[in-house]
Symmetry: C2
Subunit: 410 residues, 2 copies
C-alpha cells in the first residue's frame, strides 16, 4: 500500500486519464452508428451525386440560350419533353431547346443549367418562354460537387452525428470501423445497501449510486455492466473486481473510497497488479475522496459514497474518461451543454480546491439567474433541484453576487 | 385542396405545433426511464434517509458533551463500542460516552452528532479525546432531511435525468408513469431513390434523408418506424400514410414537399381528414417548402427533399414537436447545446425570412470563431463540415464580421 494520500489537482488527474488506451475497434452498421467514433479515416468510393442533378424544378437548357433574357425581352425555346425521375436522361438538349425536369432529376447531355419554373411561361405546349438569364450550372448540383471520389469524408476520431450517417448512406458505405462502446462495470460496496425493490430494515438503505451513475454511464455512451451490491469483505470484493477487470473496459467502485473503507479498496486494487493506485484524493469539493488506479492497461475508479459527490466526480472525470475510451478527446471539447447566467448571491470557495456548486436556473429580465442549491453532498434531492453546476477555479476565492457565470447543465 | 400557399412564420408554426396533444401515458421501470417525462406528480412514500445517518467517519456523541473542546482543552469520552454498518443501532449513547461510527451508519439513540475522526485521538482503547466542539446534528443527515414522506419530489412533465433515477431508486419507487416515447413514421418518396445497399443506376440516388432524419429522431427521444422508399404514386403513398397515421404518433414524409411533388402530397393529406394542411411553406431558409398538417389529432410533416433543408427543418421544428409529444415544453427551453463565438465574416440575410447558417468552429485566442460553411442545401457534405448553426432573425438584415453570435451545436 502507498504510504500517503496522493491528492492530485483536476489537471493532474486529466493527464493520468489521458494515458489510458482507447477501447478496441469493431465494425458496425452505419445506420446504427449514432454517437460512435470512427476508428479509421473514411474515403469516398464514388462521386456524390454520381451525375449532374437538378436542384430546382424547371427546365434543362443551355445557359447561353438564356443570356439576355428578361421580363421585357423573354427568350423562346422549343420544349422537347420531360425527364422521368430515377431514369437515365439519354436524349440530349441542343441549342434552342429545353426539357422539363424536377428537383433531383438527371441533367440531360448537352444541358448546363436548369431555369427555375418561376422564371418561365408556357404560351403553348411546344414553347417555353424564359424571363431570366441563367449562368452556367445554375440550378444544377454537378457530379462530385458534394463529395468527390477519393475525398476523405471523415478523419479517424470523428463523432458520428446524423449528418455523417446521412452522408455515408448516400455513398453506399453501410458498414464502418468504430471504437467499441466502453463497457463499464459498476460495483456498489456496503453492508448497509439493499436493492430498490427491497424494504430496508433499520440501519439499511437502498442502493442509489448504482442507478444514478448507471444512467450517467448510459448517457455518455458507455454500456453498464451492473455488478450489484457486494458485501464489505476483502475476498468477495477482490474476486468481483478481478472478474470485472478481465471482462470490461473500466471498473467503477461506488462507496469504496470513503475513509472507513478506503484502505480496503486501495489494498485490493494494489494487490491486483501494477501500477495500482495513482490518485488518492482529488482537490475538488464535493468529491475529494476519489481513487484513480490503473491495473495493467485498465482504469479502476473508486467513487465517493455520498450521492452528490459520486455524481459530480463521475460528471467531471468519469464522463471524460468514457469519452476518451470511446475514441474522443478527453476534455476541452464543447460537448457539455452550457449557458450563461448571473449569480444570485456570493459564493465562497477555498483556494487550492476546485468547487462545484449546484445551481437552479430561473429566467429573469430575459436572462438566466443561477441560484445556488444548498445542502449536504449526502442529499440526492439537491441534485434533483439543480439544473446544472458552476465550477469555481482552484485559484479563485469565490464568486460575487451578480457575476456572470457559465452553468454546465446536467 | 387549399387554393394558395399558406406561408407561415416560425412563431406561427410553433403555435400550431403546440396544439397537438402529447402521446399517451404508460408505466416504465425507473431504472430504464432516462430521458422519459413524468406523466403524473411523484410523491415520496417515505422519509429519506429513514433514520439519522452519519455523514462522516467518526464517533456518535451528545453534542453538548463536546462543547468547549479544542486542541488545547480536549474533552475525554468513554468509548463504548462500534456501530455495525447495515444494522440497527440499539445501544443508546449516554452522557460522557461515544460510539465509533462510519459514514452511512445509523446514529444510535441518544446521540445527536458525529465528531469527525480528524478531530479525535485515542489515548487508549477505552478513551476518546475530542479536540473540536460539535454543534447539534453536525456530521448527521437527519431522518427525512433529504426527502420527507409526502413531499412531491417530481411534478408532472419533468424530464428524468440520472439524479431523478437515483432519488426514485432510493425511495423504492421502481416503476413510474411516463409519457410514451413518440413513434415516428418516416416515409421517403421519390422514384429516383434506392436503398444505401444498392448501386444506383444512372438517374438514381441513394436514400439519404431516411438515415439522417432517422438518427435525429433517435437523438431527440423518438422511436423511428422506418417505412422505407415509397414510389411517387397517389394510391401507394395514400395507403402508406393512412397506415402510418393509424399506428404511429407522427408521420414524416421526406421529399414530399418540393414543388414538383407538393400537390400530390397536399392532395393525399387533404383526402385523409380534417383539418388537413395548416402550413404550406415556412419563412425560413433553407427549408421553406415544408408542409405541416393535422389529420384528426395527429401531425403530418412534409419535409423538403434537399438533405440540408430536411435536417434544418427537423432540427428546428421536428425535434421541438417530438419533445412536445413526449410531454416537454415545445421551445424556449435550454435543451440545445450552444456556445458563443465571433463571426469570421459578414453574412447577409433577407428581411422577413429566418436564416439558418451552418458554421464550423475554430479556437482562436481562447475564444471560438464561427466560420460560415458555404454550399448548396443539396450538399450533405456542408452539414458534415459544420459544427452547428446560427439563426438570423426574421427582422435582421444580416450579421457583421466579428459580431458575437450564439452557435447552436449539432
Amino acid at each position: 500500500m502507498k504510504p500517503f494520500f496522493q491528492v492530485k489537482t483536476p489537471g493532474e488527474v486529466f493527464e493520468i486519464l489521458r494515458e489510458f488506451p482507447p477501447a478496441s475497434k469493431e465494425e458496425t452498421a452505419t445506420s446504427s452508428a449514432l454517437g460512435r467514433v470512427t476508428a479509421e479515416p473514411v474515403t469516398s468510393p464514388e462521386n456524390l451525386p454520381p451525375f449532374h442533378r437538378a436542384t430546382v424544378d424547371g427546365y434543362a437548357v443551355l445557359a447561353k440560350d438564356t443570356f439576355g433574357a428578361s421580363d421585357g425581352v423573354p427568350v423562346y425555346l422549343e420544349m422537347t419533353g420531360e425527364i422521368s425521375m430515377g431514369e437515365e436522361a439519354r436524349e440530349p438538349v441542343s441549342a434552342g431547346r429545353a426539357i422539363k425536369i424536377a428537383t433531383g432529376g438527371m441533367l440531360p447531355p448537352g444541358a448546363d443549367a436548369v431555369v427555375m419554373e418561376e422564371y418561365t411561361n408556357l404560351p403553348d405546349d411546344r414553347t417555353l418562354e424564359v424571363t431570366r438569364a441563367c449562368a452556367p450550372w445554375d440550378g444544377v448540383l454537378r457530379a462530385g460537387e458534394d463529395v468527390r471520389r477519393g475525398d476523405v469524408i471523415l478523419e479517424a476520431g470523428r463523432l458520428i452525428r446524423p449528418q455523417e450517417i446521412g452522408a455515408l448512406s448516400a455513398l453506399g458505405i453501410t458498414r464502418l470501423r468504430v471504437y467499441r462502446k466502453p463497457v463499464v462495470s459498476l460495483i456498489a460496496t456496503g453492508d448497509e445497501l439493499v436493492d430498490p425493490e427491497q424494504v430496508p430494515a433499520p440501519g439499511q438503505i437502498r442502493n442509489l449510486n448504482q442507478y444514478s451513475i448507471g444512467a450517467m454511464i448510459e448517457e455518455c455512451g458507455g454500456v453498464v455492466d451492473h455488478r450489484g451490491i457486494v458485501r464489505d469483505d476483502y475476498e468477495t470484493i477482490r474476486q468481483v473486481v478481478t472478474d470485472a477487470l478481465e471482462r470490461t473496459d473500466l471498473v467503477l467502485i461506488s462507496g469504496g473510497s470513503s475513509i472507513g473503507r478506503k484502505d480496503f479498496t486501495v489494498e485490493i486494487i494494489e494487490s491486483l497488479g501494477e501500477p495500482g493506485v495513482l490518485v488518492h484524493g482529488i482537490s475538488i469539493s464535493p468529491g475529494k475522496p476519489t481513487i484513480v488506479a490503473r491495473v495493467g492497461s485498465k482504469p479502476v475508479i473508486g467513487l465517493p459514497g455520498h450521492p452528490v459527490s459520486a455524481m459530480i466526480v463521475f460528471e467531471v472525470f468519469g464522463k471524460s474518461l468514457i469519452r476518451h475510451l470511446a475514441g474522443l478527446p478527453i476534455e476541452g471539447g464543447n460537448w457539455r451543454r452550457t449557458l450563461h447566467a448571473r449569480l444570485s448571491r456570493n459564493v465562497a470557495s477555498a483556494q487550492g480546491r476546485e468547487d462545484y456548486i449546484r445551481v437552479a436556473l430561473e429566467k429573469s429580465n430575459g436572462g438566466w439567474v443561477a441560484q445556488p442549491v444548498l445542502g449536504k453532498s449526502s442529499m440526492i434531492s439537491t441534485m434533483v433541484k439543480a439544473d446544472g453546476y458552476i465550477r469555481i477555479d482552484l485559484n479563485s476565492e469565490g464568486l460575487r453576487e451578480g457575476q456572470e457565470v457559465e452553468v454546465i447543465l446536467f
